[in-house]
Symmetry: C2
Subunit: 190 residues, 2 copies
């Protein structure tokens, strides 16, 4: 039954037949990733797309100054992808690391392209998912512009309590775009 979670997730995005759901599921293969192992490292080409069944991942870049910058965390029921690298087959700017022992469903690039062909509704699925993600990213940027670090921290901690509880303050700080020293001071204040 590892595919139940995937199927439910898909149904949250589009209306789809059981048959199509089964076909889509059959393309995804379960994998176990150990804590601290990398699914992707900066410079390599991302050849998979993933759906998290258990555990938690962190997606981040390292800039010129050596600072880690977390794009997002992916826990159970979240998707993992480096769209840029996957679409264009260019070296990735991202690192994807398991924060704990994790279980994930993966589809490789050739199979994904085949899936778009054989199950046309998959285009719609990823269109809808991408558009929802786009809205979320727009909102996050706005929050970055008009809220202080303290406000952003509390938003994150209350919106994603189950993810936040798995993370170190250093990881949270790299997601908020502040230093971990400053996060420590924020937490002391409140």
């Amino acid at each position: 039954m590892p595919y139940d979670l995937l199927k439910l997730n898909i149904q949250k995005n589009i209306q789809i037949s059981e048959k199509d759901l089964d076909t889509i599921s059959s393309y995804f293969k379960p994998h176990l990733i150990k804590k601290k192992d990398f699914l992707l490292t900066q410079g390599s080409i991302y050849k998979f797309e993933g759906f998290v069944l258990e555990g938690c991942f962190r997606v981040f870049t390292i800039d010129k100054k050596g600072n880690e910058n977390t794009l997002y965390f992916a826990a159970k029921d979240w998707w993992l992808m480096d769209i840029d690298s996957f679409m264009n087959q260019t070296p990735s700017n991202l690192n994807i690391q398991a924060l704990e022992d994790s279980k994930i469903l993966l589809i490789n690039r050739a199979d994904k392209l085949a899936l778009y062909e054989s199950v046309p509704i998959v285009e719609k699925l990823f269109r809808v998912m991408s558009q929802k993600a786009l809205v979320a990213w727009q909102r996050r940027l706005i929050r970055n512009h008009c809220e202080t670090a303290k406000e952003r921290y509390h938003y994150f901690a209350t919106t994603y309590p189950n993810i936040a509880s798995k993370l170190t303050d250093k990881q949270i700080a790299s997601y908020l775009g502040i230093t971990h020293e400053f996060l420590s001071k924020i937490k002391k204040q409140s």
Copy 2:
């Protein structure tokens, strides 16, 4: 020939037949928008998607403190949409204003939904467009985290010189997420 630009734009995203291009184009209607007029205001529901043929638009929100926050500018050859409001038929958080007299192709919501049905490749078109946009938003957030306002200003001014030249400093500042006073000081330094 107002549809040539639209067709070229679509061809940059996907491979598509002339027939499909013509069908898609037929759903879009040209409109003129006068300088300072609004295509959308916060609180109303967005019923159109647009493609800019001439002129320039600004997409922004106004937060609780009354500060304007610019999400993006859309000049010739750019798309204009409030995905959130359009998809879910919820009141929009965005304002879309013409910065100069502009010409735009619009498709209304019912026609857009019909278009997805009648020309299936439109799903792929918007899937690809959304994924590209997503990558751009992710990069912008990272830049906001690891670059100073000065670096972000120069990145914007050199990456989009033709858009930047149409804008007031106040509008640029609201895009960068800084005050216009500080932008003035940045420009003086360099």
